[in-house]
């Protein structure tokens, strides 16, 4: 059993690509070994700024011998058939093949192909160059006069199996047992014999191999430095990962900037020094206020203890923060409403008009939605009017991530109502699955308006997500609507009708009635009349068709959402019927149904109803005709039939009331009254009576049950 140590050493790998590359290297080499019949115990990978490393333990020295039997033609077959067989299996004459006797088939040839095992080092010498050549970097390059592609120029390959060099060559790069240490803190090549030796020697040469360890060192160093200054680190996982990918030997240092910059909102400072400088911010642990200090992670134990490095970083941070402060001061001089004209020159989407036009729509929508969420309509409209104005501020131009947030600060600065300011920030929320959902009424109104307008618009121009492609983040928008409505328990929107109306309204024509953008109600007719091929305006159909397609999209997203929250998928499917377009009601029904079928009455009713449905389906399948209508009480023969009929009559009004008042539990309770009559019916009555009229009448009675339950949920979808 041997250990494989592989290191691919190259110029600086982008931090964001390192982790994935380590995993891919392990996967590709591991799969290749297994394919060659070489099983191993463990594999680990390490990735950093200049090297990818793989160590595999427990590799055999050779792959096992394999003997393969190949059946051939019958003895006495035409020569051609036999020759073909011999050629295929690599035998010289038929004498070398075995003859097997079979009672039925007679005698036939069998070739036994012995594949001797291969030396592991031979397998590796072929496998690793192939892996390097086909490595799935997101972006790769050539260099010098060579043809090889790698993420950046590849310099050397270290490859040892059981301490011995596995010899191969990739475009002139020969494998060996040497590597280099830290770019500045170590000189000369390092010769290694195995992984433990490699890891230790690299550490001596100021390279921490393991990214997790580098992260840990940075975090510990940063926390310790913060503590010493009586401050607290503003933690940032993504930044930590990135920083660990930029250094081989992390050295944590602390710098400072002028206090005057703290007038700028803290998020701006944090973003500025993170985005441009990859530095961490610090805050006062007690007050939570940002401090005028920052943590930088260098790659060097400097001769001067880091003085020059700190001074250099401080100067750059100062320049960045002066820019930010300048933007802040300049931006505050212009009122948000005065920026609105500038939105006219920003195209939201070629087929959906400008941001200014979009803002006009949002104002109308937010005002319309306000009453349903108990928001002040004036405030909702005002927030909608201002919500995109920060897109044309200098600060958001520099830091697009701060959109919304800056709008809030500028709104507060110019004395807008607090809920209006909050809505300017909150209308983008929730930005993802983990983001919070707005709960202030004004924010809810504008957030819904923003997302619904986006969805309506892109559906109207037929730009829907396909597969993994969702360039306008429409899935996120739909999930946002779902989360806002469900997590705030409202508002109720009947999506089909609501969306239909919005789609019909969406669009703009010029003075002569020529379509400019949005949904064009005339395009279908006029283009067909003219005999034109597909016009640039994508025609997808009437508002009704578009809306129902969008409702189906919402249903899909809602199903995913509910399942993620732990709802049973069959219950979700049972409730989400084709025309279910009230998101809140769907969720309530799923919950109610869950409780109901867990109860004794519910569980038993389910059994009965499912039996009714399966009888009906079988009959319908046989006759090819649907069973419709209600039973005729005159034809009933048994008390059990009458009991079901009576129970149906008693409960149906209650079901309807329950449904109409959305008291779904009441509707289910009413349904439960059917349970014992149905049980008795199936115990004592034969549906399949010889008398045709009697049989048909009984099927109709069952159909009534099916219809009644279908009004609440499709019981046939519920699994036992």
């Amino acid at each position: 059993m041997s250990e494989l140590l592989l290191e691919i050493f190259c110029e600086e790998i982008p931090s964001g690509m390192q982790a994935r590359a380590g995993i891919e290297l392990q996967r590709l080499v591991g799969d290749g070994l297994k394919e060659a019949g070489l099983e191993f115990k463990t594999a680990r990978n390490f990735a950093g700024a200049r090297r990818l490393t793989l160590v595999i333990e427990g590799l055999p020295d050779k792959s096992p011998d394999v003997s393969d039997e190949r059946k051939g033609p019958r003895v006495g077959s035409p020569d051609k058939a036999i020759e073909g067989f011999l050629r295929a299996v690599g035998l010289k004459s038929a004498d070398e093949a075995k003859i097997v006797t079979d009672e039925k088939k007679g005698n036939y040839y069998v070739a036994i192909i012995e594949k001797p095992g291969r030396e592991t080092s031979d397998v590796l010498a072929e496998l690793i160059p192939a892996v390097i050549r086909q490595f799935p970097w997101p972006k790769s390059q050539r260099w010098g006069a060579g043809k090889l592609r790698w993420v950046r120029p590849l310099h050397s390959i270290l490859c040892l199996l059981g301490g011995k060099v596995v010899a191969f060559d990739v475009d002139g790069i020969t494998s060996g047992n040497e590597t280099l240490g830290h770019r500045f803190l170590n000189e000369g090549a390092i010769t290694v014999s195995n992984f433990d030796d490699y890891e230790k020697r690299l550490r001596d040469a100021h390279v921490i191999l393991d990214a997790d360890e580098r992260q840990k060192l940075i975090l510990e160093g940063a926390n310790a430095a913060a503590k010493e200054a009586s401050l607290e680190l503003v933690e940032d996982e993504a930044l930590l990962r990135e920083a660990a990918g930029l250094v081989e030997w992390p050295v944590v240092l602390m710098g400072a900037f002028d206090k005057e910059f703290l007038d700028v909102p803290p998020e701006v400072i944090i973003t500025a020094i993170k985005k441009h400088q990859k530095c961490f911010s610090l805050r006062d642990g007690k007050t939570g206020e940002l401090a005028n200090k920052f943590i930088l992670v260098s790659n060097l134990i400097a001769d001067d203890g880091g003085k020059a490095i700190i001074a250099g970083n401080e100067r750059v941070v100062r320049a960045r923060l002066s820019d930010a402060k300048f933007f802040w001061d300049q931006d505050c001089k212009i009122k948000l409403e005065d920026r609105l004209p500038a939105l006219e020159s920003i195209i939201f989407h070629e087929k959906l008009g400008t941001q200014a036009e979009r803002v006009e729509r949002l104002k109308v929508l937010a005002r319309e939605l306000a009453p349903a969420v108990s928001a002040d309509p004036d405030k909702a409209e005002r927030a909608a009017e201002l919500c995109k104005a920060d897109l044309v501020t200098d600060m958001v131009g520099e830091f697009p991530d701060l959109q919304g947030l800056m709008g809030k600060y500028y709104a507060l600065d110019q004395g807008e109502d607090a809920s209006v300011a909050a809505a300017i920030e909150g209308h983008y929320k929730p930005a993802g699955q983990r983001d919070t959902v707005p709960n202030d009424p004004v924010s809810i109104a504008v957030a819904l308006a923003d997302k619904l307008d986006t969805l309506v618009g892109f559906w109207a121009i037929n730009e829907k997500p396909t597969g993994s492609k969702d360039p306008y983040a429409l899935r996120r928008a739909a999930l946002g609507v779902i989360r806002i409505i469900l997590e705030n328990s409202g508002p109720t929107i009947y999506l089909q009708a609501w969306l239909e109306e919005q789609i019909g309204k969406l669009g703009k024509a010029d003075a002569s009635g020529r379509w400019i953008w949005g949904y064009d109600p005339l395009s279908e007719i006029s283009d067909l009349d003219k005999g034109l091929v597909e016009s640039p305006q994508t025609r997808v159909g009437s508002p009704t068709r578009i809306a129902s397609d969008l409702v189906a999209f919402f249903q899909d997203r809602l199903k995913v959402y509910l399942r993620d929250k732990g709802a049973r998928h069959d219950l979700v499917d049972a409730v989400v019927t084709e025309d279910a377009d009230d998101l809140l009601l769907i969720e309530r029904r799923v919950n109610a149904l869950h409780n109901f079928i867990d109860s004794e009455d519910g569980g038993n009713l389910l059994i009965g109803v499912r039996r009714a449905i399966s009888i009906l389906s079988a009959e319908e399948k046989k006759s090819g005709e649907p069973i419709v209508g209600i039973a005729d009480p005159e034809i009933f023969e048994t008390d059990e039939e009458r009991a079901v009929w009576n129970a149906y009559g008693e409960m149906w009004t209650d079901v309807e009331i329950g449904l109409n008042t959305k008291k779904i539990e009441d509707a289910l309770m009413a349904l439960a009254k059917l349970r014992s009559p149905i049980d008795a019916f199936f115990d004592h009555v034969t549906v399949n009576a010889d008398n045709h009229a009697l049989r048909e009448n009984r099927l109709k009675l069952l159909n009534q049950i099916r219809e009644a339950t279908l009004a609440v949920a499709d019981f046939s979808k519920i699994e036992g």
Partner: protein
């Protein structure tokens, strides 16, 4: 530094000495030292010694200072870091040698940046020039958190693969000088290394120009005439390419003059952009028009001797 004069040079005290040290350094590594191209360009990359020479099979090592104009970066001389006219130091090594990173680091050492005291980092930064139809992979080089150079391995220019690959090093000279001199405002840079009344600052040389050109770029430049110039340059470029074309398999006879017109069109586009008369949608269209010119020039270049045709 092997060179005797180098000992006298003070890149930490003088902007021009910084340039001289780089000149000596790269000359000693076999580079042709060219002088700046005599046209307005947005970056050293536009110099035909980069754009065109990066194409074709012939080795090419060159270094030069290139004044670069970015009309939209004008700040009327009021911003300590931003200029509409500044200097780049450009090095092209083709094919890129395997020790190109070390060569670069030693050049930093030559201008007084000792990697034992300064944190030098190669941070991912892929380069793309839509107007040149060019892209490459590389880094921005950080010194103590400040970007001091762009480092790019050219992969394509004018839509053609670069084979062999040229390595491009671009030093932002003002920023580097500010770092070496420990100055926060570009206009305070000591230009000539003089002391007292012998001292000439960057502001003495360029402040007035920044103010005047900012007015020109943002306010005075006549957009109608610029639009005409753009169309003229575009037409002339195409006409020259056609005039020099001797047919398939024959050497092209007029690439460099045509490429000049392409450079001109690019700069006029930048001016129009600064004047704010180009809308978002038009912008893309203009970029594509310039790119078409570049591509046509690069295609023709490959049919010349310097482009490797035979």
């Amino acid at each position: 530094m092997a060179n005797a004069q180098a000992a006298q040079l003070r890149p930490d005290k003088s902007f021009q000495d910084l340039i001289l040290v780089l000149q000596l350094y790269w000359a000693a590594r076999g580079c042709v030292l060219l002088q700046p191209y005599d046209m307005e360009v947005g970056a050293g990359t536009f110099h035909p010694a980069t754009t065109l020479r990066a194409l074709g099979p012939k080795p090419w090592n060159v270094a030069y200072v290139q004044p670069s104009r970015r009309p939209t970066d004008g700040r009327y001389g009021e911003n300590p870091n931003r200029l509409q006219h500044y200097y780049q130091y450009q090095v092209i090594l083709k094919p890129s040698p395997s020790d190109i990173q070390e060569l670069y680091l030693k050049s930093l050492y030559a201008i007084g940046i000792n990697p034992k005291n300064h944190d030098i980092r190669f941070v991912e930064d892929d380069w793309e020039s839509p107007t040149l139809g060019a892209w490459g992979l590389g880094w921005e080089v950080w010194c103590d958190g400040m970007e001091v150079s762009q480092f790019t391995y050219f992969q394509q220019v004018g839509g053609f693969d670069c084979d062999p690959v040229a390595g491009e090093l671009t030093y932002g000279l003002e920023r580097l000088a500010m770092y070496c001199q420990g100055v926060d405002n570009v206009y305070d840079l000591n230009f000539n290394g003089g002391e007292g009344d012998k001292k000439v600052t960057y502001g003495d040389v360029f402040l007035q120009a920044e103010q005047e050109y900012s007015r020109h770029n943002f306010e005075y430049a006549n957009t109608e005439r610029l639009l005409t110039h753009f169309r003229d340059a575009e037409a002339e470029c195409k006409a020259l390419l056609e005039a020099g074309d001797r047919g398939e398999g024959k050497m092209h006879e007029c690439v460099l003059p045509a490429y000049d017109q392409c450079i001109k069109a690019s700069h006029i586009f930048n001016l129009l952009d600064a004047r704010g008369v180009i809308s978002v949608t038009e912008r893309q269209a203009y970029i594509l028009r310039v790119r078409d010119l570049t591509k046509a020039c690069c295609t023709a270049w490959l049919q010349t001797e310097a482009g490797g045709a035979s």
